[in-house]
Amino acid sequence: MATAFMKWLERRPALYDRGIRWLTFFRLATLQRGIAEQYATPGVHALEIGCGTGALTAEMAQRGAEVVAIDFAASMLAQAEIRLAHEGLLAHVSLKLMDATEITDLTDDAPFDLIVSSLAFSEMTPPAQAYILRACRGLLAPEGRVVILDESTPSNPVSRFVIGLIRLPLRFLTWVLTRATTQPLSNFPQLKTGAGYDLVSVQSSLGGALKVWVIRPAARGAGGDRAVILGRLQDKVTLRTRLIDLWALFLRIIPPYPKIQPGLYTVGEPDGNAPLLVTGNFELTVRRLVHAIDGKLDAWVLVADSAGINVWCAAGGGFLTAEKIIGALHMSGADSILNHRAMILPELCANGVDGWKIRRETGWGVHWGPIKAKDIPAYLREGRKKTDAMRWVSFPLKDRLEMVTVTLGFYGLLLLVPIAIFWRGIFFPAAASLLGVSYFYAVFMPWIPGRDGLAKAVPLSVITLLGLSAYTLVVDPVSPYAFFKRALGILAMSIFTSAELQGMSPLMRGEQANWVWEGVIAGILGLISWLVPSVLGWR
């Protein structure tokens, strides 16, 4: 249900457009027009990084510029295409679906007289910002300019507070549409200097909350050391990690997902020959990886941006891709400190990360590591050889209990909160049954016959109905009508639990496979609950 709502919002980039226009008090459009008027003169060859819905793109194309516009969100690009087609400007714009970290692929289109970016840099991590600015140097024509319009932090505390409030809904919208979180570009002066640029001009708007920076490549070039090591990861338990664990145990499905900054980290004291392990940026994933290897081996850990989602789900959902890993590798500058060219990827991201693309485009070797981080030391000791036990997923009791708790955190809120509000009388029986059925199912799942969650729903329902009958007979005898209602309730709950908890098991397909049948079964149960009492005259 929540997924459906998100999907609905995601299809509405128009909302984003309107939201942004509104939240910047219409200043954004003015600034964009100003950039186009000043720099997008006829014949100018421009690159736009993160074109979004194409507002600035259209302004530039209208004034005769030839624009290559890239964005990593397909929904945004679709909206940009509609806008540009509507204004008859498509012939002057080439829209490309790509991540900004891939812009070095644009050498065929380069050189550009102008590279612009509006509200895109604030969605990137600092290493990505630095990497992309450096890459822009190689794409610019000799007298070329980079123009960046983005959020900054006002110097006045009152403006800072007001702007902070206003940014909240904007951040939510951006997150829904692109799964990116934004951070004002407060350190732009240092950023541009490090990437090898001089400031040409800066324009400030909304009390300093929006800024337009115009920069040009400096003669001195970019700073020397390319490798960016973000820090050393250690296996430590702190109050913060405990709180995150607690949140993740019950509400892992609900954003914001705890995540860490993507980039290159060390574990132990690795040298140039130490292995490079790649993972996603879900905080729990990184911490479990570090827990498994810290003290046992020295390694480099390259954290790619998986939108704070675990590697398997992120790869399946298109949030962790070969492009993200290539981008992370480029940004880290790992090739300047490592003597080898071999990366170890988690086996469970192979469903969405094209290993051959990484091999082709980076020249690095891609090795699919074990499923579980705890097997990494043994895997490396054996010279990157996996046993079948390391290769295959299992779903032991501990994992089943963890996952059922995770799932219950979400469904518990979804089902029990409305019941507590509208149907208080059945709250305790409903909560007890939901917990009982779910944990029973989680514990006995391997022995309940049935290939998938729907098939397992049949034996599970028989067991729960028998349990309910025994309870009613022995402990709490009630009228046939009351028993009928209880039975229907426990039946619905058993089927729902079994069908939905399919999604928590790595050994079964996604629970979405059952949604249609769940709907049909709910309809039939509804019909029974209405027909049977009428026929038997229980009302």
């Binding site: 459906a4 999907k7 609905w8 299809r11 509405r12 128009a14 457009d17 309107r18 909206q79 509609i82 399946g316 086996e347 469970l348 192979a350 469903n351 969405g352 990360v353 094209d354 290993g355 051959w356 699919w368 499923i371 996996k386 079948d388 290769r391 295959w392 997923v393 290939r451 790595p506 050994l507 079964m508 397909r509 996604g510 979405q512 496979a513 059952n514 949604w515 249609v516 049948w517």
Partner: protein, 83 residues
């Protein structure tokens, strides 16, 4: 500006996703297989087994397949299709 997608198309999308997820099956073209073995490397449920003598892999357990698509993506010979 375009409006919200009608509820019908959203339901249809979920219906199709559900149908696809239920019915997806591996189709393996053994002719194309050169025995690279990436499918075996990445299959988390053990559907594939290497056959070094013939320089091929063997698809031996479709029942376990969870339709994750890893083997399809990693096969350099396009010998595996999931549909």
């Amino acid at each position: 500006m375009s409006g919200a997608p009608p509820l019908k198309s959203l339901l249809q999308e979920h219906w199709e996703l559900a149908q696809t997820l239920r019915h997806l099956q591996i189709h393996f073209d053994a002719e194309r297989c050169k025995g690279v073995g990436q499918c075996y490397e990445v299959c988390p449920v053990g559907c594939w087994a290497p056959d070094p003598a013939r320089q091929k892999v063997v698809f031996h357990d479709g029942e376990r397949c969870i339709a994750c698509g890893a083997c399809v993506l990693q096969c350099p010979e396009d010998a595996i299709v999931l549909e």
